[in-house]
Symmetry: C2
Subunit: 320 residues, 2 copies
């Protein structure tokens, strides 16, 4: 069978009838008609092999993850997903890879109502750039900038499994097969907390998704809000797999692991019951991990309340 | 001086106060408020070193080109530019490169009213992914699908200079210094025909921008419109530099050169005066190069009207 050309490739794997979009894949631009009066939320993430994913990842999981990490940005804003574009560089046309990638991508796209409307394919080192669009009512978006001293601080789900899986791949940690499979799934198929983001509109005073590690990402909330925070390191939620590891490793993973795609958010202490109800309503566990304080410092304490000094820091793509 | 981290990099080179956007660079999502009732046009292009640009390109020209090729897609739809996101992978933090890149990028962004609203930076092989947003009144977008037999066929500006420059870089063509400088400028700093696209709303029956070569791109119009066309190869507009080359090279460059970012469009023969007035109104030369016909074939003829057979074909990123 002859190699597929770029246009046949787009046609075969990535063209589906436009649904919400007025015009989808296949013209110079995609056309969409935003709901009148709604604000458009836009985010773009680029994933590069060896940096954001390993060559060992199954294509369908990679397709899932490429969209999930972008949906996670919409979730952190409380925006409802609408559509996305995909720019894809491939070293060669590999039909098995593309079929799997498209299957994983579209499964998540369909389950979140987020339509592929356009993009670009080219030859190059395996690189995936997704730009996602969502909508949110005017002034309802969750921002990083609204945390107030006295607010509770929460995180959804558990933290650190993705980092534990990465360390297992690197050979610095040994895991039994069942444990490895579990944390690998967390790393390769993260869940964007879209419903939680929607439920937190009008409730959370700030939010961000944990992509670079809790300490670094919470730092963005603090910087933008002009506030400090105290976090109980022992309260940070972790899976049973991670909880079975040495404490130092647990702490490194939950504080600086990254690739978690959980939401960290603040909410007034007076709204504690409403936060619990919102989380329960969407079936997502949220854990209170600390509080926003005056000042600018992020204080990490242990269960005893003693100061806990960590050199954990955000994963910075240009420093690591 | 210590290397800049990712966040300082974004802050230093790519953060400017939001203007049209409600919220620009620096949160999980950018927020924009589309003009009520307008349709949103979206396009995304990925540029990879060695494939879409040469390592010899000056950073400011690369910044210009990364945005220009995306604006060209908006132009081909008759959409007015609003905003864009930038995802950038860099092998290392090179401040001189970034300063130049940002200068070229923002110069074009400012002159076209297109605001940088967000993006992503990471380490990796030099790769640029821009996603651009524009707006167009409902049902006013220029599509590839509306060409009708009997319509005139036009192209803006001149074709082939970018390909001539590429051949000069490859060493297959020798040019004097002044000529080289001229065609190199065409290759490295293309002009998106935004004003022409806007002026052609309600006038052109189909349009596309020439990124992969006239034959291939016109082929998309024909396939989408279910029509054929005849093109006078000798009528294809070319610069004085290209016109001084051997005829076979001229024809290869104008037919299959690519990277031209001129608009190819069809319009009813009865609107010939209106097309001329629209083009004159925005100061862009347009040339009538043929006509849409019944059928599905693209017939290339020379000035005598004789059939001209060419093996020129569109540049296909996965075939070349």
């Amino acid at each position: 069978m002859p190699a597929l050309g770029e246009f046949e490739l787009i046609e075969r794997f990535f063209t589906r009838p436009a649904r919400r979009a007025t015009l989808g894949v296949g013209d110079d631009c995609a056309l969409i008609e935003p709901t009148p009066g709604m604000t458009l939320a836009v985010s773009s993430d680029m994933l590069i092999e060896g940096r954001h994913f390993l060559s060992t990842v199954a294509p369908d999981r990679l397709g899932h993850k490429a969209l999930a990490v972008n949906l996670s940005d919409l979730a952190a804003c409380g925006a409802r997903p609408l559509a996305f574009t995909l720019a894809l560089a491939l070293p060669a046309v590999d039909e098995a890879f593309l079929a799997g990638f498209a299957a994983g991508l579209f499964a998540l796209a369909d389950s979140t109502g987020c339509e592929l409307i356009g993009g670009d394919t080219t030859r190059g080192p395996l690189t995936i750039c997704v730009t996602v669009f969502g909508e949110v009512p005017p002034r309802a978006a969750l921002l990083r900038s609204g945390a107030q001293p006295g607010d509770d601080l929460y995180v959804s789900g558990t933290l650190g499994d993705a980092r534990l899986a990465l360390e297992a791949f690197r050979g610095t940690v040994a895991l039994d097969e069942v444990s490895f499979r579990e944390v690998r799934r967390a790393m390769e198929t993260p869940t964007a907390r879209i419903d939680l983001g929607l439920a937190l509109r009008g409730l959370a005073t700030s939010a961000i998704d944990v992509s670079d590690g809790l300490v670094g990402d919470l730092g963005h909330i603090l910087a933008r809000s002009g506030a400090g925070a105290v976090v109980d390191v022992d309260a940070l939620p972790r899976s049973t797999v991670l909880a079975a590891r040495p404490l130092a490793l647990q702490r490194e993973c939950v504080l600086a692991g990254g690739d978690d795609y959980e939401l960290v958010f603040s909410a007034p202490a007076a709204r504690r019951a409403a936060v619990a109800a919102a989380a329960a309503g969407v079936g997502v566990a949220v854990t209170r991990i600390g509080a926003i304080e005056a000042g600018t410092a992020l204080r990490l304490v242990d269960r005893s309340g003693a100061g806990f000094v960590s050199d954990a820091r955000s994963f910075d793509h240009f420093r690591a």
